[in-house]
Subunit: 428 residues, 2 copies
């Protein structure tokens, strides 16, 4: 039953294929429409934050702790209490934080765009340089890669290990090549593999000596408090403080938001960095806007109150997400365990399960699943330019469907994996 | 009493100066702290929109008319009903509108930034060109000029007449010089002069034949529904439709927001343009964000319901603003009428009164007023690079102070004007 496909004889494979095809036709006949493509919170998760809609009313005090009427213009940095809350979330002092609009992706895009037109802290604008490169730990987040590609920045793959990016390679490349200006990082519950950077990785980042003075680590702490288990949590060393200790304070820019804490698209985002980087960001902001939405900042502070409140809130998210991750893993284990046609991650937080098929099978699996009504993230999406050199990584996002839907989706997924893998052995 | 200063003898001027200085010392002694520097709504105006805080609750329907859960990710263009509302406000069809974040200034900044890094509709990115110029009707809005200056765009002054920018000059310059890529326009109740563009001006804009294919009219309709009088309203011809009729659909990009309708900084902003320009904007947006704040879009639609609701709301703003404009004008007329040391505008809408002093006096007047505790917009701010060649224009923003404060502020202002003007005649 659990015999590896590689040990099966041709006849066994043919018989198996016939059986699988029949099962697949049955599932297809159900006319399902399931989506495991994006890290999108479910309705039940959104309901957790409905109270956010009630904390501000027309009769309540809409003045910040520093006496600012949040309804009017002003306060470029964000209101004090919002800076404090997102600073706590980001594990840095309040003075190290600027509040932006509704999305940290937007802040990252702006930061790359700013470097293109104005450089960082007095450096040559990147648009004036012949060549600009970014290091991209892979597999990684497609929207990061899309931003750098959009600005014509050349992307260089770096393997993402269990401890974070391969730092031997990172150190070598950034010290040798001054056209390398940045690296995309998701340090905790990484998208999609779910790994968290080790203390050694963080320290090596803090001690980097890049050839480019304007090299920046783009530290997207998207899942900083997004644990699945109360008793098993990854902890990542706070990088800004490590950089300061390493006398390297300007090398990192941290990004954070409440998108998957409160409402995606209606949250608040922040940038955390050294004094020099913040001054640089402010110089730009001053022309870019009169100020971000302070009422939404106030709304978030009044709703969560403090970090304790936010952690309590995240426990409720975990209670909804945990059974979904476990359901997918249960089906994967039950159906694929021992077959040696795929491996997958068992993360302690974040939004994804990362699946690696046999080489050259990912695209075909995603296409197969689609036939039966299951939408997966496009194969290759987790690599720059959409090109997975081994065509094996598939990102599974179990957050949006219900547990019942997920069970069906996982069934379609494993059937697709089996069918494509059988074909590979039959052809090979 | 109302004798022009120019007709006064030296002794008369000396006696007058002594009298004015005494009055000024008296006012100074009051230790006032008044601000007429920015077009900022008053507390009473903000209170008009407090209901906006109550329309969405955790128990109400947070789904858009097209069935989108506004709490979750998605819908790059903005929800249908918000596009409809801002399209109506902008007098264009719903399909011509994209909704952005909390500020139209931010959308304008982004649009210039986009042209710098990616060009418009396939043109060479402006950052790759040796020289990029913008036409700036003067006097104009300081934050517009600040954006173009920040991106290293050379600004060329064009006189703003009673009918709009001097179109003879605009037509000549844009047809001759392909490095001229844009023009800043506030077509209705212009900042600061309050004039509105004539039909002929709009038609001539629509028929412009610029040497640069990527020339764009930046049409900032910031005061489109911001009338002061019910029975006297400026009407400006809708430009996008005129451009389409002139077979020139891509030449204009319109900007609009609810900043001075609902809450400044917590409103919604939009861009309106041709299909080609919208596709171009979307190509950028797709990388820039997953989507803007749909809950705030829904909040605005539920509060205003439709254009009729918005117009009713603007009448209430007018009732608060009108007495303020009239108070300032009353003091100016009473104290400066007949003296021939200054002229000022009597706009039918918008946020400003534009004052022109004798040549070479504006900086000194602003400095003088500051001595007595009145903050005015910096002299020169209404010109590119902060350089008013005649040093005569001063922007007065009467919206924020109360009528009582305004009376005091206006008294300080006229005293400052008189003192500086007397000095001019005594020196000259």
């Amino acid at each position: 039953m659990m015999k590896p496909y590689s040990e099966m004889k041709k006849e066994e494979l043919i018989t198996l294929k016939e059986k699988l095809e029949k099962q697949f036709e049955d599932v297809k006949g159900k006319g399902l429409n399931l989506d495991m493509s994006r890290g999108k919170p479910s309705k039940a998760q959104l309901d957790l934050s409905n109270g956010l809609m009630n904390v501000l009313t027309g009769n309540c005090d809409l003045v910040s702790s520093e006496g600012v009427d949040c309804r009017n213009y002003g306060v470029l940095d964000g209101i004090f209490e919002a800076r404090k809350l997102l600073a706590d979330m980001s594990e840095v002092p309040e003075r190290s934080v600027l509040i932006y609009g509704n999305s940290s992706l937007n802040v990252m895009f702006d930061t790359v765009s700013r470097a293109m037109t104005h450089g960082f802290m007095g450096s040559t604008p990147w648009s004036k340089l012949k060549k600009v490169k970014f290091l991209c730990p892979v597999p990684g987040y497609d929207r990061h890669f899309a931003i750098t590609e959009f600005f014509g920045i050349e992307m260089v793959n770096v393997p993402l290990l269990q401890t974070g990016p391969d730092m031997d390679i990172v150190e070598k490349l950034v010290s040798e090549d001054a056209s390398i200006k940045g690296i995309w990082c998701v340090p905790k519950y990484s998208n999609p593999t779910g790994i968290s950077y080790s203390d050694e990785t963080v320290r090596r980042f803090a001690h980097l000596k890049p050839a480019a003075k304007d090299f920046r680590i783009f530290w997207d702490n998207a899942y900083s408090i997004h644990h699945l288990y109360e008793d098993k949590k990854d902890v990542v060393l706070e990088i800004l403080n490590e950089c300061i200790k390493a006398d390297n304070p300007d090398i990192v820019i941290k990004f954070i938001s409440t998108s998957k804490v409160s409402f995606p698209g209606s949250g608040i985002a922040a940038l955390a960095a050294s004094r020099g980087n913040l001054e640089d960001a402010r110089r730009y902001m001053r022309f870019q806007t009169i100020g971000y939405d302070k009422l939404n900042q106030l709304r978030h502070v009044r709703f969560f109150e403090d970090m304790q409140g936010m952690h309590e809130h995240m426990k409720k998210h975990a209670e909804i997400l945990r059974p979904k991750f476990e359901k997918v893993q249960e089906v994967l284990e039950k159906e694929l365990g021992g077959l040696e046609i795929g491996t997958w991650t068992k993360p302690l937080g974040g939004y994804f399960i990362s699946f690696d098929s046999l080489e050259g099978c990912a695209k075909a699996i995603v296409a197969k699943a689609k036939e039966a009504g299951l939408i997966l993230t496009g194969a290759g999406a987790t690599y720059p330019y959409g090109k997975d050199p081994r065509d094996s990584n598939i990102r599974i996002a179990p957050s949006f469907p219900t547990v019942e839907e997920l069970e069906l989706a996982a069934e379609i997924f494993v059937l697709s994996v089996k069918l494509v893998s059988v074909d590979k052995f039959l052809k090979g």
